[in-house]
């Protein structure tokens, strides 16, 4: 295993410690609950937004904490749901008079942890709602889900509800917005290579040198099919067709287009993917109103990418355009 890792047990806490050291004025790391939160949270004048999930998907979600996005992220270990009591303590820490919205990608383990934590918090009169995200069109049920999986499209939900919370919206209104964004967001990804979890020390699954996995999950779960390696444009066409026909997106639509790297793919290749996706959408009469090219929701060091489309309307586009300040800086 060729990684920057010390004891694999400390992979997540050491990463979180590094993140907090790099952002001393804006983020706070609470080791007791494996928690990253805004230094100025909770703020009594707004709903708190919390997302939890397994680790190994960075920048999701610990690096998406900041004004206009999340108030806190409570990650589990690599590819593992956070413990219920950590989620519960996080809700209590972040509770405000306006309430708390929990964002959860649709995986059975995460749902269980967050459902129980919500019940515990409600017993102490914290006003909590939970929104499940399920943007992955690849499969209907999967290794770790009943129903569709939640993947990179969750960034659009986070951004929209984060902006609405910053504007002062109430919990029901924020929930409505999050549900609406999720309902018009579709994603599909594919793997060129498997990922290597630090605790396992070897690739999580076997993917021959001349094969790729179309529709792969972000924990390496099987997708739709294994095929021989193809040119970039053919890969993009297959992903895009699956995404476009699912909602469906139609001629005249205005969309946000995200090309998301899965961890091991350089940004040069992501722009080759972007080029094809943008041009193919133009051919279908679909306009790209906003675009996002980079790493958002990864699968450790997996080489591969996902494509997300969001159907924009004035409300969603306005929320996506609001400022956000998160820990992933550029220069």
């Amino acid at each position: 295993m060729k990684k920057f890792v010390n004891d694999p047990k400390n992979y997540v806490p050491e990463m979180l410690e590094g993140l907090a050291l790099a952002n001393p004025d804006t983020l706070r790391y609470v080791p007791d609950y494996n928690l990253i939160m805004r230094a100025d949270a909770p703020r009594a004048d707004k709903v708190s937004i919390i997302q939890g999930s397994g680790s190994g998907h960075e920048p999701a979600h610990v690096m998406a904490v900041g004004p206009g996005m999340l108030d806190a992220a409570c990650p589990g270990d690599v590819f593992a749901a956070p413990p219920t009591d950590y989620v519960y303590e996080t809700i209590k820490l972040l509770g405000t008079p306006k309430g708390v919205l929990l964002l959860v990608n649709n995986y059975t383990g995460d749902r269980m942890a967050f459902d129980m934590a919500q019940e515990l918090a409600e017993a102490e009169d914290v006003n909590v709602r939970t929104l499940f995200i399920d943007d992955d069109v690849s499969v209907q049920d999967s290794t770790y889900t009943v129903g569709r999986r939640g993947v990179a499209g969750n960034f659009f939900v986070m951004k929209a509800v984060g902006a609405a919370a910053e504007r002062g919206a109430d919990l029901d209104e924020i929930y409505r917005i999050g549900e609406k964004v999720n309902s018009v967001t579709r994603t599909m990804g594919m793997a060129l290579t498997a990922c290597t979890p630090p605790a396992k020390g070897a690739p999580l699954f076997d993917l021959p040198a001349d094969e790729i996995e179309m529709g792969v999950g972000i924990h390496g779960e099987p997708g739709r099919r294994r095929v021989k390696l193809m040119p970039a444009d053919e890969i993009v066409d297959e992903l895009l067709d699956a995404v476009v026909t699912d909602l469906p997106f139609e001629s005249g639509d205005r969309v946000a287009l995200m090309v998301n790297g899965l961890g091991g793919t350089p940004i040069s290749e992501l722009y080759i993917v972007y080029r094809r996706a943008h041009n193919q959408l133009a051919d279908r009469g679909i306009t790209v109103g906003r675009n996002y090219v980079g790493e958002y929701c990864t699968s450790l060091d997996m080489a591969g990418a996902s494509i997300t489309l969001v159907r924009l309307d004035d409300e969603i586009e306005s929320l996506l355009a609001d400022p956000a300040e998160i820990a992933i800086r550029v220069f």
Copy 2:
């Protein structure tokens, strides 16, 4: 070769086309000269800043074009210097009454192309100066250089001269600032794996599964030594010691610290590296005033990282703090 690639000959132009499609209002792609420039350049009221180099190091340098950074980047093919006539045409396109500053990482091929292009442009009365960047402490001479190599530290030079140009400084003053930043910037990198150039279709060099290359160059050139795979903290300590003792950085210094991924390493691991580097600097009495964690100057899909330190003073820190708007967005 598991990559998003069509015909490898089109790797660079397809990437540049994607970049321009994703930034229609701010960037312009000039296919004739393989050129990415600000849509509003040249601006008569400022010095134009141009950086050229081989491709394969993205986001350097084509994604560093924008207000407060570069006015244009003229990349060559993967790991190859841009042709002299492309550089010459770029200088002419970007020429302003205040002049042009060329930034060149110190590689023999790039120096030749830029020296000749500068001479051609000067014969047509364009006011041009060239600044060479050589921040890599790993080796004194190398496969492709006389003297030290220029690597990720060049982002600090770009940022400082870009800010100074935006403030309206003249060419000599901007050159002075760039030279000063380069003189207090030091970098060393290491490879966990080799990179795979698209045209070759196979790893550029052989690195056994249990070995790493300390001091590797960004084209896979040999570094200081090959050693057995080590825990993350030990790798960081060796890189940091080489960087700190070279200037040297001393107790009481205030620095910018960059942890740069080489293309195949996920950001989770880069924060594990950051944690150790930050703490080790604190132990040495060195304060991190600004930090940068992510991919800046990569080597295609190489797994690995480099560490850069810049000794800050009020002038440099003020220039680094100025706003910059480049094509690498987050949310």
